[in-house]
C-alpha cells in the first residue's frame, strides 16, 4: 500500500478507559438518548390524547341527544272547535289549522296542573313548556282518526327544547333568567311535573327516525331523512364505483400495455386520490347539475360525486389484491388452455375478492363521512319529506348525515349542538361497523401465499 509508509504508521491505539465506568461524555450522550426517546413517547401520547379528547368531547356533548323529555297529557278534543260541521269529513276538518289545536294543549296542561294541585306564580301559559311541534302532532292524529273527536285522549308530547335542556342540565335557573324563551317559573313547573311522573326523560327513537325540524324546535329534529339520504348515496356509490373500479383495476393490472396512455391513467388515479374534496363538489355542480340538469339536493348527484371520489380508493385496493395473487395461478390456468380473460375472471378475481371487498367498504366509509362536496350540490337544503323508495327516491331531495351535522351547527339554538354531536355519534357508529366488517373480512380471508 503506497499510502501507508513506516512514518505514517501510528503506534498501537491508545488504551481507552475501563468499560465498566461511563465517562462523562457517554453519560451526556445517554441522557440525550433518554430525552430523544421521551420526545417520541410524548408525541405518541399526544396523538392518542387528541383522539381521546375528540371522542370524549363528542360523546359528552352528544350522548344526551339519545334521551328526550316527554310530557304525558290528557287532551280534550271538543267537536265544536275541531269539526264545526260535525260530519267527521276529513277535508272539512283540515280547515282547522295547527293554531286551532294549540290552545287545546294549553288547556290540557292547565287541567293537569290543577289536578295535581301545583301552584306557581308568574307562570304565563303553561302550554309553553310543550314543544311547538305538539299542535301538529295532535292535528295529524285527529285527521288520521276523525272518530276521536269529542273524546279525551292521552298523548305524549315532546317537551320544549329549553325544558329538555333543563332536564339535561344544560339550562339552569341562572340562564333561564336571561333567556326570553324560558322562565324560572316554568322550570319550577317542570320539577313539579317530574315529581308527579307526568314529565319524564326517555330513550329518543325519534332522533333516529324523525325528519329534521325547524330552528325553533330542536327537540323534534331527527336524522331520519339524513340516514335515508346517506343510505341512498352509498347505494349509488356501491352500484357504480365497485364495478367500474374493479374493471379499471383489472385492465390496468392484467391487460394494460406499458404506454403513455396507461401512464396517464396511473398518474391521474394517484392525483385524484389527493384532490381536495371540495373540488369534486365543484365538478358535481358544474357537470351533473348545471350541464346534465340533474336535480339539486338529490342522492343521485351526491352518489355520483362520491363515486368519483371513491374510485381511486377502490382501484388502489383492488390492484393491490390482484397483485397479491401469485403468477403461478395465472400460469396454471393459461397452461390448461384458458384465455387471458377466462384466467382473470375465473381464477384471479375470485381469489382477490376479499381484498376488493375490504377496499370497497373502506372507500364507502370514507364517502359516508364526506361533507364538503355535498354542500355545493345543494344537500344543505332543509328537507322534511322522506324521499320515495328507490329508484325514484334517488332523484328526490334528501339530506345526508354529515351535512345534517353541518346544518345543525349553523342554527342558533344551543340545543342543536347536542343534536349535531348526537348525529356524529350515529355517523361514527356506522363507520365503526363498516370498518369492523372490513377488518373481519380481512382476518377471515387473508391468505399468505
Amino acid at each position: 500500500m503506497s499510502d501507508i509508509t513506516a512514518t505514517d504508521a501510528v503506534p498501537s491505539a491508545p488504551r481507552k478507559g475501563s468499560l465498566l465506568e461511563q465517562d462523562a461524555r457517554t453519560k451526556r450522550r445517554n441522557a440525550a438518548e433518554t430525552r430523544f426517546k421521551m420526545y417520541g413517547i410524548i408525541a405518541v401520547t399526544l396523538g392518542i390524547l387528541a383522539l381521546v379528547m375528540l371522542v370524549v368531547s363528542i360523546v359528552s356533548n352528544g350522548a344526551s341527544a339519545f334521551q328526550q323529555t316527554y310530557i304525558t297529557l290528557e287532551v280534550d278534543l271538543p267537536e265544536d272547535r275541531l269539526d264545526p260541521e260535525g260530519n267527521r269529513n276529513r277535508d272539512q276538518m283540515a280547515r282547522v289549522s295547527t293554531f286551532g289545536y294549540g290552545p287545546l294543549i294549553g288547556e290540557a296542561m292547565e287541567a293537569q296542573i290543577a289536578a295535581l294541585g301545583i301552584e306557581i306564580e308568574e307562570l304565563g301559559n303553561p302550554g309553553d313548556i310543550v314543544s311547538k311541534e305538539a299542535p301538529a302532532q295532535l292535528r295529524n292524529f285527529v285527521l288520521a282518526n276523525p272518530d276521536v273527536v269529542g273524546s279525551t285522549v292521552t298523548f305524549e308530547f315532546l317537551a320544549n327544547g329549553r325544558i329538555d335542556g333543563y332536564m339535561k342540565d344544560r339550562v339552569t335557573r341562572a340562564t333561564a333568567l336571561l333567556d326570553k324563551n324560558v322562565s324560572p317559573a316554568q322550570l319550577d313547573l317542570t320539577d313539579a311535573l317530574g315529581e308527579a311522573g307526568v314529565l319524564e326523560k326517555r330513550f329518543n327513537w325519534a332522533f333516529i327516525t324523525a325528519p329534521d325540524a325547524s330552528g325553533q324546535r330542536p327537540e323534534a329534529a331527527g336524522l331520519g331523512v339524513a340516514i335515508v339520504g346517506s343510505f341512498y348515496m352509498m347505494l349509488v356509490v356501491l352500484i357504480l364505483a365497485l364495478p367500474i373500479g374493479v374493471a379499471a383495476s383489472i385492465y390496468l393490472e392484467e391487460f394494460a400495455p406499458k404506454n403513455r396512455f396507461t401512464d396517464l391513467i396511473e398518474v391521474n388515479i394517484a392525483n385524484l386520490a389527493a384532490v381536495p374534496s371540495i373540488v369534486f363538489g365543484i365538478l358535481g355542480l358544474a357537470i351533473f347539475i348545471n350541464f346534465a340538469g340533474l336535480p339539486q339536493s338529490a342522492p343521485i348527484v351526491g352518489g355520483l360525486v362520491l363515486t368519483l371520489m371513491t374510485l381511486p380508493t377502490i382501484i388502489i385496493a383492488t390492484r393491490a389484491s390482484l397483485k397479491s395473487v401469485p403468477p403461478s395461478i395465472r400460469e396454471a390456468a393459461l397452461g390448461v388452455g384458458a384465455s387471458k380473460m377466462q384466467t382473470v375472471f375465473h381464477h384471479v378475481l375470485p381469489l382477490a375478492a376479499p381484498g376488493i371487498l375490504t377496499g370497497t367498504i373502506i372507500g364507502l366509509a370514507q364517502a359516508l363521512g364526506e361533507t364538503a362536496p355535498l354542500l355545493l350540490i345543494g344537500m344543505v337544503a332543509f328537507v322534511r319529506e322522506f324521499p320515495a323508495g328507490p329508484p325514484e327516491g334517488f332523484f328526490d331531495p334528501a339530506s345526508a348525515l354529515p351535512v345534517q351535522v353541518y346544518n345543525w351547527t349553523q342554527r342558533s339554538d344551543p340545543a342543536f349542538v347536542e343534536r349535531a354531536s348526537g348525529a356524529i355519534i350515529v355517523l361514527l357508529i356506522f363507520l365503526v361497523i363498516m370498518n369492523a366488517i372490513a377488518i373481519l373480512l380481512r382476518r377471515r380471508f387473508e391468505r399468505r401465499w
Partner: protein, 493 residues
C-alpha cells in the same frame, strides 16, 4: 315511454338474445358443443352485447343531446323584447323549462287535460295560479312568449321522446338480428366477446382521466366567464376581499390565500413534530405490543370524517383556546380563529405524516443502522444522523402531501376558522395574530356557491376561479410529493 321502461325492454331483449343465440349456435353444430369454436354461452353473450351496447349507447347520447337541441330551437322563439330588464336569455329559458315541467306535472296529476296544457293562453288563464295548485311555484307571472315557448318545448320533447324510443328499439333489434345472422359453428364468438369486454375495461379505466378532464374543463369554462366580468389582475393581485351582492365587489384571492396558508402552516407546526416523532418512536423504539396498540389508535385519526373535526373545533377547541389563551393574553375574543382551525387540522394530519414517515423509515436498510451502531453510536444518534437524513426525501414528500391536504381542507375551516377575510389595510399585527378569525379559499368557495345569488354574477363565478387556483396548487404539491417519494423508493429497491 319512460326511459326506465325502454331500458327494461332492451335488457329483456338481451336476455332473449342470449338464449336464442346459444340455441342457434348449438343447432348449427347439430347439438354437439364440441364442434363449436367457443363455448355456447359465448354465442349467447355475443348476441346480448350486440343488443345492449348500441341501444344503450344511442339512448345515452340522445338523452344528452336532445335537451340542448330543443333548448336551442325554443330559444329562437323568445323575441329580444320579451327578455325583461336585468335578466338574460338563460334566465328566461329556465322559466320556460319550469313552466314546461309544471304543465307536465299538471297533466300527470289530472289538474289539466292534455289539450288544455297545449292550448291555454295567458290571455284567458292565470297560468301561475293553476301551476301553483299542483305545487309548481313560479317567481313571476307567465307572459305570453314564455308560455308559448314552454308549450313548444313540451311538444318537441314529446316528439323527441317518441323518436328516441323508435330509434333505440330499432338499434336493439338490428343488433339482435345481425348478431344472430353471424352465429354459426365457425364464428369466433369468444374472441369477439372478449374484445368487447376488454374495451369495456378500458373505458372504465379511462374514467379517471375523464374525471380530471371534467374537473379542469368545468372550472376553466366558468373561470373564463368570471374573468370576462372581473379583471384577472385584480383577482390575483388585489388585496381586498369584499363581495357585495349589488355589484362592485372586490374579489381578490390574496386575503383568502393568506388565511389558507397561515392555517396550513399552524397545522403543519402541530402535525409534523408530533407525527414525525410518533413515527420514529413506533418504528425504532416501540416493542411489537406497544406498536400494535398505538399505531392503529393514531391511524383512527385518519379515518374520522372532517366534519367531526369541525365540530370538535367549534364546540371544544375553539372555546378552550379562547378562554385559556386568547382572552388572558388579550389577543382576541373569537372562538373561531386561525389557531383553532390550525390545531384541529394539525391533529387530523398527524396520521398522514406518521404513517407515511413510518413506512419510509422502515424502508431505510438495516445495514445503515448496523453501520452506525457498529461505530458506537447511540440509538438516537443513529436516528438523527443516519436514519432521518437517509429517509429525508420521503419525509419531505409526506409533509408535502400533508400540506396539500391542509390547503384543500374545507369542513374544519368552515366551522373553526371564521368567515372574515384577512384585511391587509389593518396592519401586520392583525394579520399574524393566530387568535384572529380568518377565512380561507375553501370556505369562500362554499359560501359563494351556496348563497342565493344569481349564478351568472361574478360573486358566484369567483368560486370557480378560486377552485381552479386551489386545484392547481394542490395538484402541484401532489405531483411534487409523489415524484419525490417515488424517487426515494427507487433508491432503496
Amino acid at each position: 315511454m319512460p326511459t326506465l321502461w325502454l331500458v327494461l325492454i332492451i335488457l329483456a331483449l338481451a336476455a332473449v338474445g342470449y338464449v336464442v343465440g346459444r340455441q342457434r349456435a348449438l343447432a348449427s353444430s347439430g347439438g354437439n358443443a364440441k364442434l363449436l369454436h367457443s363455448l355456447p354461452s359465448y354465442y349467447g353473450a355475443n348476441v346480448s352485447f350486440a343488443v345492449i351496447i348500441p341501444a344503450i349507447g344511442l339512448l345515452i347520447l340522445w338523452l344528452l343531446v336532445q335537451p340542448a337541441w330543443i333548448q336551442n330551437r325554443v330559444a329562437d322563439m323568445i323575441p329580444e323584447g320579451a327578455i325583461p330588464e336585468g335578466a338574460t336569455l338563460g334566465l328566461v329559458m329556465s322559466d320556460v323549462e319550469r313552466v314546461a315541467t309544471g304543465l307536465n306535472l299538471a297533466v300527470e296529476q289530472g289538474a289539466m287535460s292534455e289539450e288544455d296544457a297545449s292550448s291555454i293562453r295567458t290571455e284567458f288563464t292565470d297560468v301561475r295560479q293553476r301551476l301553483g295548485e299542483v305545487g309548481v311555484a313560479l317567481g313571476s307571472n307567465v307572459d305570453a312568449p314564455v308560455l308559448r315557448a314552454a308549450q313548444r318545448y313540451r311538444e318537441m320533447s314529446a316528439t323527441g321522446n317518441t323518436w328516441m324510443t323508435v330509434a333505440v328499439l330499432a338499434a336493439a333489434l338490428f343488433g339482435f338480428v345481425s348478431s344472430l345472422a353471424v352465429t354459426k359453428a365457425g364464428f369466433r364468438a369468444r374472441n369477439t366477446v372478449e374484445r368487447v369486454i376488454l374495451i369495456m375495461l378500458m373505458v372504465a379505466a379511462s374514467i379517471a382521466v375523464l374525471t380530471t378532464l371534467g374537473i379542469v374543463l368545468s372550472m376553466l369554462f366558468e373561470t373564463r366567464n368570471f374573468f370576462q366580468q372581473y379583471p384577472w389582475t385584480s383577482f390575483f393581485f388585489g388585496l381586498e376581499w369584499a363581495p357585495d351582492f349589488r355589484g362592485n365587489s372586490n374579489l381578490s384571492i390574496i386575503p383568502l390565500l393568506w388565511g389558507t396558508l397561515y392555517i396550513s402552516f399552524i397545522a403543519l407546526l402541530v402535525a409534523v413534530p408530533i407525527g414525525l416523532f410518533a413515527a420514529i418512536y413506533m418504528s425504532e423504539y416501540a416493542g411489537p405490543r406497544v406498536r400494535s396498540v398505538a399505531k392503529p389508535l393514531i391511524e383512527i385519526l385518519a379515518g374520522i370524517p372532517t366534519i367531526v373535526y369541525g365540530l370538535f373545533a367549534l364546540i371544544t377547541v375553539g372555546p378552550l383556546l379562547r378562554d385559556y389563551f386568547a382572552m388572558p393574553m388579550g389577543l382576541g375574543e373569537s372562538a373561531s380563529s386561525v389557531a383553532t382551525a390550525g390545531v384541529v387540522m394539525g391533529i387530523m394530519l398527524i396520521p398522514f405524516v406518521s404513517s407515511l414517515s413510518d413506512d419510509i423509515i422502515n424502508a431505510v436498510p438495516q445495514a445503515m443502522r448496523d453501520g452506525s451502531f457498529g461505530l458506537g453510536a447511540t440509538h438516537s444518534e443513529t436516528i438523527r444522523q443516519v436514519v432521518v437524513p437517509a429517509a429525508l426525501p420521503g419525509i419531505v414528500g409526506a409533509i408535502l402531501l400533508a400540506a396539500s391536504r391542509a390547503i384543500g381542507e374545507t369542513m374544519i375551516v368552515v366551522l373553526g376558522a371564521g368567515a372574515a377575510a384577512a384585511q391587509f389595510d389593518r396592519g401586520l399585527g392583525e394579520l399574524v395574530n393566530p387568535f384572529e378569525a380568518m377565512t380561507t379559499v375553501t370556505v369562500k368557495i362554499v359560501s359563494q356557491l351556496t348563497g342565493d345569488t344569481d349564478f351568472a354574477a361574478p360573486e358566484t363565478l369567483v368560486a370557480f376561479a378560486l377552485g381552479l387556483t386551489l386545484f392547481v396548487i394542490t395538484l402541484g404539491l401532489n405531483v411534487l410529493a409523489l415524484y419525490i417519494v417515488r424517487k426515494y423508493r427507487e433508491q432503496y429497491e
